[in-house]
């Protein structure tokens, strides 16, 4: 099973059938196509890249090419039942602004991210003294986009500080497949959160 499939399935479990879903950073529409198929959602994606939008259009996923905040500002409060920000949050220049805007236009917000606090990442830094390079962090520092690596502890603190309610959490082990209930900030490789405004 591919790493990607488990987080898609978890998100799929959280999504109510027939609801209206917005995917921030939808790529070629894999997740939305999956949710349309399995949950019959009304899907909209947003991405910056023309060829990814073309791929969405080809498979019948509605998609908007452009800035995600500009798109969200065009919608009234709670227009979407759920906004999804899967593996995108660490790429954002202003994660807080995006998360708050997503909680405005969506009744719920699902965030999925690679846990930068995972022990292997810590070890690489501690022992190697260099930016982590592995199958998740594939690029060297000089060829990476600006990123905000985030840990599970960081994210929990952030939600607490902003009074964002966590309705579901899923912490996955280093294989991104098995649940990781124990010491997630150290042992979980991937984290998924389902949020609402308090």
């Amino acid at each position: 099973m591919e790493k990607r499939t488990v987080d898609m399935q978890i998100i799929g479990d959280w999504v109510e059938p027939g609801t209206r879903v917005l995917d921030l950073g939808c790529g070629q529409g894999d997740l939305l196509a999956y949710l349309m198929q399995t949950k019959g959602v009304a899907a909209v994606g947003v991405d910056l890249d023309f060829s990814r939008i073309a791929a969405c259009v080809r498979r019948g996923v509605s998609a908007y090419q452009g800035d995600m905040t500009t798109l969200m500002r065009a919608f009234p409060e709670r227009h979407f039942d759920r906004v999804i920000c899967s593996r995108t949050v660490q790429e954002l220049a202003e994660p807080k602004a995006v998360i708050l805007e997503a909680l405005r236009v969506g009744r719920a917000l699902t965030v999925g991210f690679v846990n930068h606090g995972f022990w292997k990442n810590r070890m690489a830094m501690l022992l190697g003294g260099r930016k982590v390079r592995n199958e998740v962090y594939t690029t060297a520092w000089f060829e990476s986009r600006p990123a905000n690596p985030v840990t599970i502890a960081d994210f929990e603190d952030f939600c607490a500080a902003l009074g964002i309610r966590v309705t579901h959490r899923a912490h996955l082990a280093g294989n991104w497949r098995d649940p990781c209930p124990f010491l997630p900030n150290l042992l979980a490789g991937y984290a998924l959160y389902d949020l609402t405004r308090a």
Partner: protein, 394 residues
């Protein structure tokens, strides 16, 4: 739109119409609607004619039609060649043909000259049966919805049961959107490029300068002139000015820069053509007056200015409420006539109305006419949008 945003690839002159991927030699036809036609404004025309072309075959289910809508100065001849000696093929020949993005092996393509036009469809230059002279300014004010309703009659005549897609750029995009609003059960897809739900003050302003150039020409004579005569100077100036708005600073710079005509060609006066760009615009103006009617220019620019989906329905979302089609809006970064923001606004409103709609934006520097671009990226997008069988409404 301009006549030559991108030069067509030059094949040996004699065989160009036989190029693979081209629909080849085509001939226009006329459809005449014999009954009264009532315009939005309430005025009635005792029937009308639309000149149109079709490529490909209507299938047994009669649901593979693709309607192409032309822009202000365009016409029904959007693909193929009228004769082997033609200098150029139809205006969207790069997009339409066997195996092309709009594949005529699969689709039945229909393109009609709009009502109010001057390329064979009934318009102000057509004879008024009451007087035997051209209608001129007595022609009813024509609107985008009128054009669409007239084309619906043509589609009925052709036996089209469902429209796989309506495709258009600029004014053609307005028609495409209006088609989906007016006939939601007929239209399954809309592809609108470089268009708007309503023109900005700047776009109206440019149209007004064009109209003034025509109306201030004494030969306009309040719209009353014989066929082949009329305000040729005014119309040429209107076209020269409008032509600039279809291009961009970058594309004009690339095409002409500050290049000057060779001294031998330079004429005596300081105000004769000195720069290439001047010669080009004068040529555009001159060739336009030989194929276009000044009154049609007035009527159609007015129809463009008055098109306002928001005003008509109270809001853009309300305007789109009836739409059942899946919509794809395409904006172009260098289009300053109907800029990306106005195209995005359409996509936002469609999505707010809960419709299936996508927005893609191509980075080009060709200005408004970018929608005619020869671009593999654009072709792939269009092909992907058209190829998939229609998805049922969730």
């Amino acid at each position: 739109m301009t006549d030559d945003v991108e030069a067509a690839p030059t094949a040996p002159a004699a065989a160009r119409h036989l190029a693979p991927g081209d629909v080849g030699l085509v001939a226009p036809r006329d459809y005449t609607h014999a009954a009264d036609f009532t315009f939005r404004g309430g005025q009635v025309l005792p029937g009308f004619t639309l000149r149109y072309e079709t490529y490909g075959e209507l299938n047994a289910a009669r649901d593979n039609a693709i309607v192409i809508c032309h822009a202000l100065s365009g016409d029904h001849h959007c693909a193929g060649w009228h004769s082997p000696d033609d200098r150029k093929p139809g205006w969207w020949n790069n997009l339409i043909g066997p195996g092309k993005a709009v594949d005529t092996r699969r689709f039945f393509v229909v393109c009609a000259n709009v009502l109010g036009g001057c390329q064979g469809s009934t318009g102000p230059s057509s004879p008024n049966p009451a007087t035997g002279r051209p209608y001129g300014a007595a022609f009813p004010p024509v609107t985008i919805p009128d054009m669409v309703r007239a084309q619906r009659r043509l589609l009925d005549h052709l036996g089209v049961a469902a429209v796989h897609a309506v495709i258009g750029g600029s004014m053609g995009g307005m028609l495409a959107l209006q088609f989906a609003i007016e006939y939601p059960r007929l239209v399954r897809r809309v592809l609108a490029m470089a268009t708007t739900g309503r023109e900005s003050a700047q776009a109206i302003a440019f149209n007004e300068v064009g109209r003034q150039a025509i109306m201030q020409d004494p030969a306009w004579n309040r719209g009353d002139y014989a066929a082949g005569e009329g305000p040729r100077v005014g119309l040429a100036i209107a076209r020269m000015m409008a032509h600039i708005t279809y291009l961009s600073d970058a594309s004009m710079d690339r095409k002409f820069g500050r290049r000057k005509r060779r001294a031998a060609e330079a004429e005596a006066s300081a105000f004769d053509v000195q720069f290439e760009v001047e010669g080009y615009l004068r040529h555009q103006g001159q060739s336009f007056i030989n194929r276009f009617d000044a009154n049609t220019y007035l009527y159609i620019t007015r129809a463009l200015d008055q098109f306002d989906l928001e005003e008509a329905a109270g809001s853009l979302e309300a305007a789109f409420a009836p739409v059942e089609a899946e919509t794809l809006i395409v904006g172009f970064t260098s289009d300053w006539l109907f800029p990306p923001e106005q195209n995005r606004a359409l996509a936002f409103a469609l999505l707010r109305a809960g419709k299936r709609a996508s927005y893609a934006e191509l980075a080009t520097d060709l200005g408004h006419d970018s929608f005619l671009l020869e671009s593999e990226e654009l072709y792939a997008l269009v092909r992907g949008f058209l190829d998939r069988p229609a998805t049922p409404v969730p």
